[in-house]
Amino acid sequence: MNLPVDAPFAPRPATNFAAGALAVGVHALFLLLLVVGVSWQTQHPAPVMVDVWESLPQLQKPQPVPAVQSPPPQPKAAKPPQPVKVEPPPKPALKEAAPKPPDIALEKKKAEAEKLKQLKAMQAAEDKALADAARAEADAMKKARDRELAEQKKRDLLRQMEEEELMQRMIDEDAAREARVAKDAEARAAAGRRQAELAGMVGEYRNQISAKVRGNTRLPENLQGSPEVRCAVRLLPTGEVQSVKITRSSGNPAYDDAVVRAIQKSSPLPLPADRDARAAFVPELSFVHRPKE
């Protein structure tokens, strides 16, 4: 029996490659989201040391203090007294005498006229003299005032120059002082940072040493409380323990022994790589041990 030639079969669509590419694409997208979207880094903040200052040093360049301008001499204000008003020349008080009854004798009239004239002349001379005197006086005063003014001006100018010079000197001094202060502060801050760093490192390694020793300590049965033992440990630069000496006993000899054994067992002790920080440990480390924290 022959098999039928036209056996049905299901063709497979030729989309496999596209599907594979899409699958890879989905994964790449997801990976990208993970890498970009999630921040995987954790930043440890650097130790910060803070200096407390009583008064802040001025950081920016100080504005030149507005120069205390000495009030410009005001010669105008100090107006000298007005030139003394010359008294008005006394009015000839002869008016009442002038109109004479017409029926008076000619001589008399004449004499009177003469007299009047004389009087008038006298009056004029007197007036003139008075005016001259007044003018002279005014001139003298004016001259004196001018002199005074000129002098004043000169003095003012001198004072002003002096003041300016003083100001300049003060500003210079201020700037110099500030520069000095800033430099000092910077140096102190750098030293402080270094100090803080060292202190942090020393503290960290102290903790590590304590932890290591504590982990190796076999506490005696009869121990009560958390007595403190002080030891002087001689160390090699590699951290190897050379000798342990009790400087202050806890009062419990079994416990003291246990601590000494624990320190010897913990050799080598962890030491910082930094040379300056290591100075706190090598060659001798004073070590305080408590069984519990």
Binding site: A10, T15, V26, H27, Q41, A211
Partner: protein, 229 residues
């Protein structure tokens, strides 16, 4: 003393520093995830195409044309005609053959036709459902695989802790983080696989229902043709 303290927790570092069993688990899960997405896309394209072809065939079939002309056309391009068209083609061919051989015996002709259509239907259904079991497996198993990697990684992290006198969180945290990546990868592989599996079984069920109804209706049409002659 504790080098992990300042380690940066980048994704690559976490994966590279993981222990070997955890790395194996991660690799396995990555492959499973890639495969399941591949099948998801394959099935997506195949099902979309099947639905489109079924729609167009039904429209043509019920549009009232000549059945033998349609058969000629479908038989000529059977590969690209679609599942329902192939069922139609198999049934009609069997019907023609049996009619030539068995004469007027209605039961024999109809039984043979039905059997031929059912066989094609089963084959088509099987090809539609291929790979779905893989999706189901990935969906149900990969969370457990990821969990296994995580448990292993955490065990190793805590074993490392036992050699240190003073336990700090910084000593276990990287280990736990890299171990948890395995769980994350397991879930990443499982969730799309489960969603795809449910979606595609539903789609295939609907397609199968349409084909079965078509088979019944087509049998009725053929039977009517025999009896009216």
């Amino acid at each position: 003393m504790n080098p992990e303290l300042d380690q940066d927790l980048s994704l690559l570092n976490l994966v590279l520093h993981a222990s070997v069993p955890v790395q194996l688990v991660m690799a396995l899960l990555l492959v499973a995830s890639l495969m399941s997405w591949w099948f998801i896309f394959i099935k997506l394209f195949a099902l979309k195409r099947a639905q489109r072809l079924t729609d167009s065939f039904e429209r043509e079939f019920w549009g009232g044309g000549d059945i033998s002309a349609m058969y000629q056309r479908v038989a000529a391009e059977r590969d690209s005609a679609g599942e329902m068209a192939r069922i139609f083609e198999a049934g009609f061919r069997e019907f023609m053959k049996l009619r030539r051989q068995a004469g007027q015996n209605v039961n024999v002709i109809m039984d043979g036709t039905r059997r031929a259509m059912r066989a094609t239907f089963q084959r088509e259904l099987d090809s539609l459902e291929s790979h779905l079991s893989f999706l189901a497996t990935v969906g149900s198993v990969s969370p457990y695989v990821g969990l296994f990697g995580t448990v292993w990684g955490i065990m190793i992290a805590f074993m490392g802790l036992s050699s240190v006198a003073q336990a700090t969180l910084a000593q276990v945290a990287p280990g736990i983080a890299e171990a948890l990546i395995a769980t994350a990868m397991g879930l990443f592989a499982a969730i799309p696989a489960v969603v795809g599996y449910n979606r595609y079984t539903h789609d295939i069920d609907r397609l199968a229902n349409r084909m079965e109804s078509f088979m019944e209706e087509f049998s009725n049409i053929l039977q009517r043709q025999i009896t009216t002659k």
